[in-house]
């Protein structure tokens, strides 16, 4: 390909349709965006070019509604190696190793085709992480489904869980944790947020920026088919009653091929052949080639007829917009083609040199020698639409007086029933039915398993074989009902809870990946939710030194005008130097002091108690005092490091009594506790209130902890002791653990087994 050829006007494809306002609209471009395109191109685009603009300027790829807000998040810390903008975030975990991680949504596809949608969500996030040179060591996922009573929910749960398991299990990456909630606001738009954490040598990290004019551009992995065409555009609009017709836009995953791709890429990465590498995710070949060239300040020529194709008769438009999975684009050093080819052929993967880098800063696509697209790269990036959409903040609802919320009743039977009801409600019931379908033990490094602690804990492997003493704590958190009630508080709380969950294992929280799931940003109140959540998150991330290093935005989660609850899912990673010092939340022996750390006011606004027992979703969510969070969390972590803590659990959904019950069930040991005298708080508010910055600790050296807390000025109070096979709250609750367990573990399997 010569420079002269690049100047030729592109040829139109046979039977290429006229570009009409309708065609433009079908490509998701607003009329003024199309005007912008015409100005950049200086002529009418070809269909291929229109398709490229459509994908690159989609909400999904361009972040046009969210960009101005995302900039407000703190992204730096001394341990951050790479913040947002690459395939995943990278942090230094010491000893020459880095953790590489990101969370990403696959919401729209998972609703349309739950198995493949969820599976390819996992596949996509895995690729984002191993593209950067990391071997993935853990997956987690955050799922939100509609009302269990909604006719589609059971089918969606079943398909999504099977899809996540099907992909992760075959890849051999343990799925070690996550969260699953249900709420009617997700009836028409479920959320599937998947996170992968990988580990690499900190001096062997691979980036997407292309370099070296003339260097070959190589395509590896699966062949390109017609699946997923316009997936990015689909994910950038609301759903309506015709959405099921969008099934062909959902990609089909092949985890076996991705496993081969992982091994082949890591093998190639161990050589010196790679200049840059980028996976083909949303908008496939378009966005990968574009981003590599743009980041490197270069141009690129792609000979599309050389792309390995799954079927005959594919045209350039389809090739550029297909979202076929398990594909990578690599810029190689000159002369390394044969070395790379041998590796990919060993792994039985396609390998093709499909183009080269140029200094023209243009993307030129050819098809059997004819130029079919010729786009200047910098303006497509710099002139991309960015919207400061109008926004209205959600007012803080009035604080609910706990005294005006009824108690469960006056008798012990009423109290027992209230605890059973909470422990078996969809949000709190055991999710074992889900995580038993995920291989959470492969690699042999899982130290804290699902339901055994606030965060999953995995040992860090050493490359190429062996293990270290270091552990990574991984969690995902968000309380959407808090965010709905007051986005700033909810944003703050989501970050604080993630930080607490890492802390409760003894690990030091290091960094965050955020997955912002919201409704239609063109509505000021939705944009206000987004803005509010970001403000709260930014404040919390700054106060807790917990920078955001990667993330993903999913907007337009609405069906027929009904938006989801605003859900800024926070994925987080922390490190513990010696994994033998870490603790879970299991209460495994009697005679331990049960100590409550943190201040309790009895906050019932937006609590699960209020919703599940009284059917009310109201009031202000619990306030988050970040200085107190930090003080209490650092105290707890120091106690764990000092070896004084046998088990620890943060207090969140359902409050104190739910957290304590979870500790008992996880470890199979009962407790006897009482409400301390003189709290002046109604018992139901004390035990079910959701005040923040609190932890429960079980300890064989309770006096030492209480004394240390007194000296540190941290509120701490002894509630009782572990022992026996029942949960007893003096004068209020007395239940055999077996009875609670039956309710807690029984709900989800029974629900899933119900035949409609």
């Amino acid at each position: 390909m010569t420079i002269a050829a690049e100047k030729n006007p592109p040829v139109k494809l046979p039977n290429e349709p006229q570009i009409t306002p309708q065609v433009v609209a079908e490509h998701g471009l607003a009329p003024d965006e199309y005007e912008r395109l015409l100005k950049i191109m200086g002529r009418e685009p070809t269909m291929v070019e229109l398709g490229i603009f459509s994908a690159m300027w989609s909400e999904h790829c361009s972040y046009k509604s969210s960009k101005v807000w995302l900039k407000k998040l703190p992204t730096r810390a001394p341990w951050v190696i790479q913040g947002p903008g690459e395939n995943a975030g990278v942090i230094d975990i010491g000893d020459g190793q880095a953790a590489i991680f990101k969370m990403e949504s696959h919401n729209h596809p998972s609703y349309i085709e739950p198995y493949q949608g969820a599976a390819t969500g996992v596949g996509g996030i895995l690729r984002d992480v191993f593209t950067m040179g990391a071997r993935p060591i853990a997956n987690i996922n955050a799922l939100r489904f509609g009302d269990p009573a909604h006719p589609k929910t059971r089918h969606l749960v079943s398909g999504v869980v099977a899809g996540i398991g099907g992909y992760g299990n075959c890849m051999g990456i343990p799925t070690v944790g996550g969260e699953t909630n249900f709420h009617a606001a997700y009836n028409g738009n479920i959320l599937v947020n998947a996170m992968t954490v990988g580990v690499a040598a900190s001096d062997r990290i691979f980036y997407a920026a292309a370099a070296g004019v003339g260097n070959p551009l190589v395509y590896v992995g699966s062949r390109t088919g017609r699946d997923g065409i316009h997936g990015a555009t689909m994910a950038s609009t609301e759903f309506n009653e015709d959405s099921e017709e969008k099934r062909p836009t959902v990609q089909v995953g092949d985890p076996f091929v991705e496993k081969l791709l992982l091994e082949a890429c890591l093998e190639l990465m161990a050589t010196d052949a790679i200049v840059a590498i980028q996976d083909m995710g949303a908008a496939g070949l378009t966005s990968s080639s574009f981003e590599m060239a743009a980041k490197g300040g270069l141009g690129v020529v792609v000979e599309l007829d050389k792309v390995p194709m799954r079927e005959t008769g594919m045209n350039p438009y389809e090739l550029m917009l297909s979202e076929s999975q398990e594909r990578m684009l690599i810029v190689l050093k000159p002369g390394r083609e044969e070395l790379a080819r041998r590796i990919f052929e060993k792994w039985e993967l396609d390998f093709a040199v499909i183009g080269h880098l140029t200094d023209t800063e243009r993307m030129v696509l050819t098809w059997h020698g004819d130029v079919v697209a010729n786009i200047p790269i910098p303006p497509l990036v710099t002139e991309a639409p960015v919207y400061e959409r109008p926004w209205t903040l959600t007012e803080l609802p009035p604080v609910l007086d706990a005294g005006k919320v009824p108690a469960p009743g006056s008798s012990m039977a009423d109290w027992n029933a209230s605890l059973i009801k909470l422990m078996s409600c969809p949000d709190l019931a055991s999710k074992a039915w889900i995580w038993r379908q995920y291989d959470h033990l492969i690699m042999g490094n899982t130290s804290i398993r699902p339901q055994e602690g606030d965060a999953a804990l995995v040992r860090v492997p050493k490359a190429p074989t062996g293990t270290s003493h270091k552990g990574l704590a991984i969690t995902s958190d968000c309380t959407p009902r808090y965010v709905q009630a007051h986005p700033e508080t909810g944003g703050r709380q989501a970050v604080a809870e993630a930080w607490r969950n890492i802390t409760a294992t003894g690990a030091l929280p290091l960094a965050v990946t955020d997955n912002m799931n919201f409704g239609n940003p063109q509505k000021p109140e939705i944009m206000g939710q987004f803005a509010g959540a970001i403000m709260g998150m930014a404040e919390a991330c700054t106060a807790l030194e917990f920078p955001v290093v990667s993330g993903n935005v999913s907007l337009y989660n609405e069906t027929e005008g009904r938006p989801i609850l605003p859900t800024p899912t926070i994925g987080a990673v922390g490190v513990i130097e010696d994994i033998t010092h870490a603790v879970g939340s299991r209460l495994t022996q009697g005679g331990l002091a049960i100590i409550l750390i943190g201040e309790t006011e009895g906050w019932l606004g937006q609590s699960l108690y209020l919703r599940e027992l009284h059917g009310r979703e109201e009031g202000a969510p619990p306030p988050v005092d970040l200085a107190v969070e930090r003080r209490n969390g650092n105290f707890v972590r120091r106690q764990i490091w000092a070896g004084r803590v046998d088990a620890c659990h943060d207090l969140s959904d359902g409050g104190l009594l739910v957290a304590l019950t979870e500790m008992c069930l996880a470890g199979g040991t009962g407790v006897t506790i009482r409400q301390p005298a003189g709290t002046g708080i109604p018992s139901h508010a004390f035990f079910y209130g959701e005040d923040q910055a609190r932890y429960l600790i079980a300890s064989g050296s309770g006096d030492d902890i209480l004394e240390a807390a007194r000296r540190a000025g941290v509120p701490a109070v002894l509630l009782g002791y572990s022992g026996g096979a029942s949960l007893t709250v003096e004068g209020l609750v007395s239940l055999p653990l077996a009875e609670i367990r039956q309710a807690h573990e029984g709900w989800l399997p029974a629900y899933m087994d119900t035949v409609e």
Binding site: N169, G172, P255, F256, Q437, M443, T465
Partner: protein, 233 residues
């Protein structure tokens, strides 16, 4: 003990078993790529877990036809011990190295978690460090571990002591509702692992290699590898 771990496209627990062997022997086993028909002489061949060839045709069916399996069959016939775990068990069954077949789990779902196993015999290379009747806790992780064999085969297996492990309740109960509850996949007679006639090949669905360290699933699987070292060194 010199061990070779075979690696097929889609194997994914080869690292776990290599790690367990290294922990016990102090020596990294040889990793043998499936395309290599020949490999160094070894004291033990391991067929690891995973999804060989994506398990797309029928689990283990494609790998059983791989060039390296011809060599494995030859060596197994000469008496070289073979440890076949999970997908390895499926491959070994497809290759005819052990009796029986592995079908989809009874509930049609992948299952991962700890199970209890009753050791049926200590009279083998693989189980000599255990006591007959002993109960151990190790994890499973599979979608197709539902062991089945016809009545004649089962009778032969039982008569000759070729059943290695059965799923059981924590107290060792194999029969009745407790035994049924402990069976994660619907395997006939709760069979979790079997030997060939000479007890030189063992196939099992559970993962002893994921139970060799106290903080990572406990140590109940370690004795299997220690027993092998003792028998084969």
């Amino acid at each position: 003990m010199k061990a070779a771990v075979l690696v097929f496209p889609g194997s994914n627990r080869e690292g776990d078993v290599a790690q367990a062997i290294e922990l016990v022997t102090g020596r990294r086993p040889q990793m043998v790529w499936h395309g290599d028909g020949d490999f160094e002489k070894t004291d033990l061949i391991v067929l690891p877990g995973g999804f060989s060839y994506g398990d797309y045709l029928r689990c283990g069916a494609m790998a059983a036809q791989s060039p390296v399996m011809a060599e494995v069959k030859k060596r197994a016939a000469q008496g070289v011990p073979v440890l076949a775990i999970c997908n390895g068990f499926q491959i070994a069954a497809e290759a005819g190295l052990v009796p029986g077949v592995l079908m989809r789990n009874e509930n049609l779902k992948f299952v991962c978690g700890d199970v209890h196993l009753k050791i049926e015999t200590s009279q083998s290379l693989f189980t000599n460090r255990y006591q007959a009747g002993q109960v151990i806790k190790v994890p499973v992780a599979h979608a197709e571990g539902n062991y089945f064999a016809d009545a004649d085969t089962l009778k032969r297996l039982e008569d000759r002591g070729q059943v290695a492990f059965r799923y059981c309740a924590p107290d060792g109960t194999v029969d009745g509702p407790l035994g049924q509850e402990a069976n994660p996949n619907g395997s006939i007679r709760n069979i979790a692992g079997v030997f060939n006639e000479t007890k030189t090949v063992m196939g099992l669905m559970p993962h002893p290699e994921n139970a060799v360290e106290p903080l990572f699933g406990g140590c109940d699987g370690k004795a299997l590898f220690e027993g092998l070292v003792e028998a084969l060194s």
